[in-house]
Structures are given as structure tokens and as C-alpha cells.
């Protein structure tokens, strides 16, 4: 439950940050959220990956559906990808990877109160 909530929190906070800050502000969000949560590295990575990935997937899908895939099809052709879905997958992967790594490093650098 806490995991799902953190994922949603990351998505929400990243969305807010994106309105005012550069695209990589999502990395800062993931890092900070992980600093405050006690969890293992693998979990932290998944949390960041899913949080940012989810946000980017939803945002891209909202644009893409309304746009009837015009832009994503062109972008896929531009990067020699097989179709618009693959361009969307690349988008989500990039966001997820940045979020995951940032979140993981946050978890590792979290100060340990017990030790």
C-alpha cells in the first residue's frame, strides 16, 4: 500500500514540478521522496521507475489519443522506430530510467537513524 502511494506521490509531485521546472525535475522528486522512505534498493528503483514512467505514460497517452497518433507516428519515423507505440515506449523508458536511478540513489544515501 505504501509502495503504491509513494508511486502515486512521485507521479503527482513530478507533474507539479514539470509545470515550473525543467524536465529532469522528476529525478529530483524521486531522489527526495526516497530520502524520506525506508526501503530496499530494488524497491526504490521500482518506485521511481513506476512513478515517473506512469506519469509520462499517462501524459503521452493523453496527448497521443487526442492527436490520433499524428505526432508520435512522425517521431517514430524520425528515429526509425517501427511505430508510434514504440516511440511512446521509448518515452516511458527514458522517464522511468531517470526516475528509477534517482530514487535508488536517494534510498542508498538515506541517513540511517539506527546505525
Amino acid at each position: 500500500m505504501r509502495f503504491i502511494l509513494s508511486v502515486l506521490a512521485i507521479a503527482l509531485l513530478s507533474a507539479l514540478a514539470a509545470l515550473y521546472l525543467p524536465w529532469w525535475s522528476c529525478a529530483a522528486v524521486c531522489f527526495l521522496v526516497s530520502l524520506f522512505l525506508e526501503q530496499g534498493g530494488g524497491r526504490a528503483f521500482m518506485m521511481g521507475f513506476l512513478g515517473v514512467g506512469l506519469l509520462w505514460l499517462i501524459a503521452a497517452m493523453l496527448h497521443d489519443t487526442a492527436n490520433a497518433h499524428i505526432l508520435s507516428t512522425r517521431m517514430a519515423a524520425l528515429f526509425k522506430l517501427p511505430g508510434y507505440k514504440s516511440f511512446m515506449a521509448v518515452t516511458v523508458l527514458i522517464g522511468g530510467l531517470v526516475g528509477g536511478l534517482a530514487s535508488w540513489s536517494g534510498a542508498l544515501l538515506r541517513p540511517r537513524l539506527n546505525s
Binding site: 524536465w23 529532469w24 503521452a60 487526442a66 490520433a68 536511478l101 534517482a102 544515501l109
Partner: protein
């Protein structure tokens, strides 16, 4: 250990973010680009986007309204003229900002600043042509006339109002792709854009090629191959039109030895693009079914996305005009208002001459002129290059103009000798005033007054009004030249070669309401030989003019549909004359499916014709074989005109080169026909493997995005025609705007261009007209009455604009 991994991971994350936030080689900053909130996804325009809205611009003087029709053409209504141009600027920017930016950068030689070192050669070339110098001169003229000053100031303010409203997420897609940001618009950019067009249309450097030919061919042969006027020419101003007595005395040519220097073949290194063409014609009411005059125009230019053109209707006090506007400049360039209509083709009278500069030995600051040493005026050009240090270069200006071809100019081209360029485009001309007045013209006299300000690029202006008048003007600012002045590179150190007086523009060739009932231009020579002033051309062709004259002279009770059919005409006069001859020359030896197809062929270069492909490939090889032995080193574009080759072939007057003495004339040409056909067949077989030998597939008409990225372009369009047909859809050039206007009681206008109203590749309006254009369809243009309120059902969105 854990901390160590933590810091390592944080470092790696930072590196990853850094890489994704910076361009990698030719790739844009991927992270920024794919960011679905602010990156390229933000340019994915909803297909059901509602363009309606309320706007507030404190700078406006009154309320205004913009109606967008179902093709997203804006119809702007303002009660104040400056408000009108402000809104035109705002709307151009909203839909076409990036192209405006790039085209003006291209004009100024500032592409490297955003595209990097690969554009440096191009930029240097632009600087050496004196594009900035030209634009500065015209800007002064345009800003010193209060009418054009107000018009441009308002337009620029409109563009800037849009630019200043943008955040990164709103930037046009290409800014994100190329990684730069819009900069403020200026009146100078308008001037640069107009010079970009002037350069595009008068930019050819034929003088240099002619100079070469003059030195390798005997005089008689030069005249045979490159006549000033092709035999049987049908000039823009019909033969027999009486010209007024010239007000200036036509000068006498100085001796050749004074006027022209000589060169050796090693002095040349020029390559140039293919010429551009256009058609326009007007029919008087006597020749139309409705009894109203009809005007047609299709300027052939580079086919690009976003299109050079943008449709708009402008309504203001005393103005109600519709047509093709040029994003980056106010007003409408080609179109009609509620009284008159006009259309242009390129005139091609030579207004760009070259002078050989005699440098002063041991003094890089001086050159010889009329026995004296003169100082160059130096213009320092600083070119900013993305990711590299600035490049600084100095261009020397002589009294003729900039030394365009100089030893240090690595951009190459032309003679490898210092050549100065004297170009009408360098002068302080004010074409904007012509456009301003043309848009408001109410009759023929006002039309003439307006175009008297159109100095460069020279254009053939066709005119038709609602009173039934038709006219055509070979319009531009020309110099009173001696015979052949500027046809070849001239001696720049003698005063006898200087440009003389300007010909009063009212004495430019024109015809009004001729007995034949129609007028047409298609880049042919302007007049017959009775025109009193000397002039020479820089790219005249006649093949389309013959065909159009042939069609129009026989036409009675013409309808709008007939006009569209003529614009779409793919009948090749060239093929109809030369193909039977070629087939006959060596008929017995030519066999196979393609020969059979060509024998049955109706000479139409239709999209799916294989005979058309066979003929075009065969003719290209054959005509090049005819000349290549003699004109070795002359680029293909400067071989004799195909219609001249055609006439000499049919009259059996072609010279024979590199001939074996035992060969008869017949055998000599039969051999060329044979060999060129074999090569054509090879090409056809290759094409059959690569998607088919249908004509459209062979010629590959492409509407390319300005970046040339295939993902943003449309290629292999299913369209017929070629340069030798009225429908001149070539590889990258073609009818860039087709317009047919019937000037009746109610104006009935049709048009189409290969593009779309939005410049955004993520918009459904980006290439929405391309397929219809290729298929030969037209849209009925919505010409709304000049009023505050409209209720036409074609109106889809409305902007309410307030001060």
C-alpha cells in the same frame, strides 16, 4: 560501502540526465525532446482542437474579429489598418513562426548559429552575395515611407506579441528538435525575407556560364545554340503590340575588347540549381462562358513544408483582399480583392551582372577603376556557429557591388577570379509599398500605380478586374543597357561597362485588353524585337508558353473548369514533336514493350504512364548526348534549351561533334538515339525493381520539410507533369499555389497549395492539402463580404479580439 554506491549512483544519474539534456552529435537533447509534458508531445495538437478564443491586445486601436473556416484559413476583420496587420503578424507567427525564423536566417546567412558548422558554407555564400547589405538598403526605403513603416511596425508588433506569449512547451516543434529558441522579430527580418525571394527569383548567375560559352564557341554557333529569342517565340507581351517611343536614348555598346574580359576553362567551377518557372494567364469576358474575365496563376517554386504560402483574407477600411500571403511579411502577394485580381510569374530579365575586378598588386585594400586606385568598402561579417567559435570574414565592396566570388570565399561557385556583383536587389527598393497598394487597388490605374513600386524581383503581373479588363506587365526596375550589357562577365575596371540610367517603369512592356482576348506568361521572353530598350534574359523558356497559347487561342466560352484543366495539363508538346522523330530515326532496331507503349502514347505525362517515363529518360539521355562532346564541362542545366534542341533537331540543323568521317548525318544521330535508348532502358529496369516505372515514381515529386527530414515530408506524390508541361510538377519544384479567379458580379475563386495552414508537423492541418493538390483538386475560396458579422456555415472558429 552503501554510501559509496549511493554517491556513485547519484553521479551516474546526474551523468544520464546531463546526456539526455544535451544534444548528441546530430541528435537533439533526447530527454528534453521526449518529455511528455513540455517536450515534443506538447506539439501533438488535438485533432478536435477548438481554435476559438478571446484575445486582448492593449496596443490595438479597436475591436477586431478573426473567423477561421473549415480549412483553417483566417479571415481577419479590423476597423483599423494597423490592427489588421498586427493580427496578420500574430497569426502568421502562431501558425508558421519557425519557418519565418529559418527563412530569414537563411537570407541573412545565420543558419550556422542554430544548425552548426554544416551550414557554414551556405552562410558564407549568403554574406558574399550581400544579402544583409541588400536588406539594410531596402529597410531604409521601406521605413522612410510612412505607409510601409506603419504596416511593418504593426506586423512586427503582432509577431512579437505572439513570441512573447510563449513558454518552452509552446515552442514550435522544430525549435525543440533543433534546440534553439525564437528571438524577437524585427522589420529587418521582413526586409530579409523579401530579399530571400528576390535572390530566389533573380539569383541565377547565367552570365558566368555565357562567358564560358562565348569563349569556347564560334559566334555563329553561340547564336544558334543560345539565341536571344527562340524562333517562333510567343512573348509575354504579344508580338505586334505597339510600344511607346522611349524617353531615354538607348546607349551604344563599347567595343568588345573594352567591355568583356576573356577566360580559360580552368577559370570556371560553377554549379547551379535548376531554374524555376510559373504560369499565369488572363481571359477577357469575350472568351469565357460567364462573360466575366478569368485570372489564373500558378507560381512554380521550391515545394516545401511548411509551405512558403499561407492563405488569408484581410478586411480593413478600404481593403478586402484574399490570397496567398508570405509568412514573415504583411499583406497578400498573389490574390484578389473585391475589384481586381492579380498573379505573378518570374520575368527573368537580367538584373544581376558580374564585373571582373582588377586588384591592385600588393595592396589588398584597393582595386583599379578608370585608371585610378579606389578603396574597397569593407564589411565585416561575423558568423556565429553553434558549438564553435565565431567565424569572421570581410567582404569587399566595389562601386559595382560586393566582390561575391573571391579567392578567400571557400563557398566556391562561378569564376575562380574576383567578381563583383551588381544586382538590382542590392538597391533600396520598396516592394512592400507595391503590395500595400496592390491589396487596395480598385481598378486598372490603381493596379498600375501599385506595381510601379515593384522593382525587384521582376515579375510578369497578370491582371483582371470585374469590369472585364485584362492586362499583363513585365514589371521590375530595369537599366537602360547597351546591347549585351551584362550578358557576359564585364570588365570591372572600365567606366563604359557601368550600369546607366534606370528605365522609367511606365515604359516597361505591357499589354491591355488585346484583340486576341487573352494574355499569358510562362517565363518566356517578354517582348518581340520591336521593344526599344535592350535586355537579355536569365532563364527564358518557351515550351509551356507555346502550349498555353495553343490552348487559349482555340478556347471559346471558357469555364473555371477549363482553366483548372489547363493548369493540370500534362500534354508534352516536346514529346509530341521529338518522339515520332526519335522512333523513326532508328525504328527497325527499337523493340520491346516500352517502344510499343511509346508508339501508342498520347504524349501526356500522366502519373501512371510508363511511356512517359521511357520518353523522359530517353530524351534526357539523347539531348545530353547531342551536346556533351562539345560542351564538356558545361553543367547540364546550361545545355541549350530543350525547345531549342527540339527545333534544331526537327529542322535538321543540329551540329555534329566528334564525328567519324565515314558516318552520314543520319547514322550519326541514329547511333545517338540507339545508345541513349539503351541507357534509358537500363534506368527503367532499375526503376522497375525500385517500386515501378510509373512516371510519378520515376520523377518522385516531393514536398519536403525545410529540414529535409523524410519523416516530416511527403514523397512519391501521385502527380503527373514535368517542366515541359503546363503542370510543371518536378522533383522539388512545382506549382506552389494554384489559383483560378472568375471576376464576375460575384467573385468565384479556387485555389490549392501543396501544404497546409499549420506549420506544426503534429497538427492535422500540417499537410492537409498535399494529397488534394497532387490529385488536381481545388478548394472554393471563401471570400467573405467586408463586415463586422458573418454567418457563413463554413466558419468554424471565431476569435474576438479587444484592445
Amino acid at each position: 560501502m552503501r554510501k559509496f554506491f549511493g554517491y556513485l549512483l547519484l553521479f551516474l544519474t546526474t551523468v544520464l540526465v546531463y546526456i539526455l539534456d544535451h544534444p548528441l552529435g546530430a541528435l537533439p537533447a533526447i530527454g528534453r525532446l521526449v518529455d511528455p509534458i513540455n517536450g515534443c508531445w506538447a506539439n501533438a495538437e488535438p485533432v478536435k482542437e477548438n481554435f476559438s478564443g478571446d484575445f486582448k491586445f492593449p496596443v490595438l486601436k479597436g475591436v477586431a474579429t478573426v473567423w477561421f473556416d473549415n480549412r483553417l484559413v483566417p479571415h481577419i476583420h479590423a476597423n483599423d489598418e494597423q490592427d489588421l496587420y498586427f493580427l496578420e503578424g500574430y497569426i502568421h507567427a502562431k501558425f508558421r513562426l519557425w519557418q519565418m525564423d529559418m527563412e530569414t536566417r537563411a537570407a541573412a546567412g545565420r543558419v550556422s548559429e542554430v544548425a552548426g558548422e554544416k551550414a557554414l558554407k551556405f552562410d558564407i555564400k549568403q554574406r558574399y552575395k550581400g544579402m544583409g547589405f541588400a536588406a539594410e538598403n531596402s529597410l531604409k526605403a521601406m521605413e522612410s515611407d510612412p505607409r510601409t513603416r506603419r504596416m511593418m511596425d504593426a506586423y512586427t508588433a503582432g509577431v512579437n506579441a505572439y513570441i512573447s506569449s510563449l513558454k518552452y512547451r509552446d515552442y514550435p516543434f522544430e525549435y525543440k528538435l533543433m534546440g534553439f529558441a525564437p528571438e524577437p522579430w524585427t522589420n529587418m527580418k521582413i526586409s530579409l525575407l523579401l530579399k530571400y525571394m528576390a535572390d530566389d527569383l533573380t539569383g541565377s548567375t547565367n552570365d558566368i556560364a555565357y562567358t564560358y560559352l562565348r569563349d569556347i564557341l564560334p559566334k555563329s554557333e553561340l547564336e544558334l545554340l543560345y539565341p536571344d529569342r527562340i524562333e517562333g517565340a510567343t512573348p509575354v507581351v504579344p508580338s505586334g503590340t505597339a510600344f511607346d517611343k522611349p524617353s531615354l536614348t538607348v546607349p551604344v555598346a563599347p567595343p568588345d575588347s573594352v567591355a568583356f574580359p576573356h577566360f580559360i576553362p580552368a577559370d570556371f567551377g560553377e554549379r547551379r540549381e535548376d531554374g524555376k518557372g510559373s504560369n499565369n494567364w488572363v481571359l477577357s469576358g469575350a472568351k469565357t462562358a460567364s462573360g466575366a474575365a478569368i485570372l489564373c496563376d500558378d507560381p512554380h517554386l521550391g515545394l516545401n513544408l511548411p509551405s512558403l504560402w499561407y492563405e488569408v483574407q484581410l478586411q480593413g477600411p478600404g481593403t478586402n483582399v484574399y490570397g496567398a500571403s508570405l509568412p514573415g511579411a504583411p499583406g497578400i502577394i498573389i490574390g484578389f480583392n473585391d475589384s481586381v485580381s492579380w498573379g505573378v510569374t518570374n520575368n527573368y530579365r537580367d538584373v544581376k551582372d558580374f564585373y571582373l575586378i582588377k586588384e591592385v598588386a600588393d595592396n589588398k585594400n584597393k582595386y583599379w577603376f578608370a585608371g585610378k586606385q579606389l578603396d574597397y568598402t569593407k564589411r565585416v561579417e561575423v558568423i556565429r556557429v553553434k558549438g564553435k567559435p565565431d567565424v569572421t570574414d570581410t567582404v569587399n565592396y566595389t562601386l559595382h557591388g560586393p566582390v561575391t566570388y573571391a579567392a578567400q570565399n571557400s563557398a566556391g561557385g562561378g569564376l575562380r577570379k574576383p567578381l563583383a556583383m551588381c544586382w538590382m536587389g542590392h538597391r533600396a527598393t520598396n516592394e512592400m509599398l507595391a503590395i500595400y497598394n496592390l491589396n487596395k487597388a480598385r481598378n486598372y490605374n490603381e493596379f498600375v500605380d501599385a506595381i510601379l513600386n515593384f522593382q525587384c524581383p521582376a515579375q510578369n503581373f497578370a491582371f483582371a478586374d470585374r469590369m472585364g479588363n485584362i492586362a499583363i506587365w513585365g514589371q521590375g526596375q530595369f537599366v537602360n543597357k547597351w546591347k549585351d550589357q551584362g550578358k557576359y562577365v564585364m570588365n570591372g575596371s572600365d567606366s563604359a561597362t557601368l550600369w546607366g540610367d534606370l528605365i522609367p517603369m511606365r515604359e516597361n512592356p505591357h499589354a491591355v485588353n488585346p484583340a486576341q482576348g487573352y494574355l499569358c506568361s510562362a517565363n518566356q521572353v517578354t517582348t518581340d524585337s520591336t521593344y526599344p530598350y535592350n535586355y537579355n534574359g536569365a532563364g527564358w523558356v518557351n515550351i509551356r508558353a507555346w502550349r498555353i497559347n495553343q490552348a487559349l487561342s482555340g478556347m471559346q466560352k471558357a469555364t473555371v473548369k477549363d482553366m483548372m484543366d489547363l493548369q493540370q495539363d500534362t500534354y508534352s508538346l516536346l514529346a509530341s514533336k521529338v518522339l515520332p522523330y526519335m522512333l523513326e530515326l532508328d525504328g527497325a532496331d527499337l523493340k520491346g514493350d516500352y517502344v510499343a507503349a511509346m508508339k501508342k502514347w498520347d504524349y501526356r505525362l500522366t502519373a501512371d504512364s510508363k511511356a512517359a517515363s521511357a520518353f523522359q529518360l530517353w530524351w534526357t539521355n539523347f539531348s545530353s548526348d547531342i551536346w556533351k562532346d562539345k560542351l564538356k564541362g558545361v553543367p547540364n542545366y546550361f545545355m541549350p534549351l530543350q525547345e531549342q534542341t527540339m527545333q534544331l533537331l526537327l529542322q535538321d540543323r543540329l551540329p555534329m561533334y566528334g564525328v567519324d568521317e565515314t558516318q552520314s548525318r543520319h547514322d550519326y544521330f541514329a547511333d545517338k538515339v540507339d545508345k541513349s535508348y539503351t541507357r534509358a532502358l537500363d534506368s527503367l529496369f532499375v526503376m522497375e525493381q525500385k517500386g515501378g516505372a510509373d512516371w510519378f515514381n520515376v520523377k518522385n515529386t516531393t514536398v519536403a520539410h525545410l529540414t529535409k527530414l523524410p519523416a516530416l515530408s511527403y514523397d512519391h506524390l501521385k502527380i503527373g507533369g514535368w517542366g515541359n508541361t503546363v503542370n510543371a510538377a518536378k522533383g522539388e519544384h512545382g506549382p506552389s499555389w494554384r489559383m483560378v479567379v472568375q471576376m464576375g458580379k460575384e467573385i468565384e475563386a479556387y485555389g490549392v497549395y501543396p501544404g497546409g495552414q499549420s506549420g506544426n508537423p503534429g497538427s492535422p492541418y500540417y499537410g492537409s492539402f498535399v494529397e488534394d493538390w497532387a490529385a488536381g483538386k481545388y478548394y472554393r475560396l471563401l471570400f467573405l463580404p467586408n463586415a463586422n458579422k458573418q454567418n457563413d456555415t463554413a466558419i468554424k472558429y471565431t476569435w474576438r479580439v479587444q484592445p
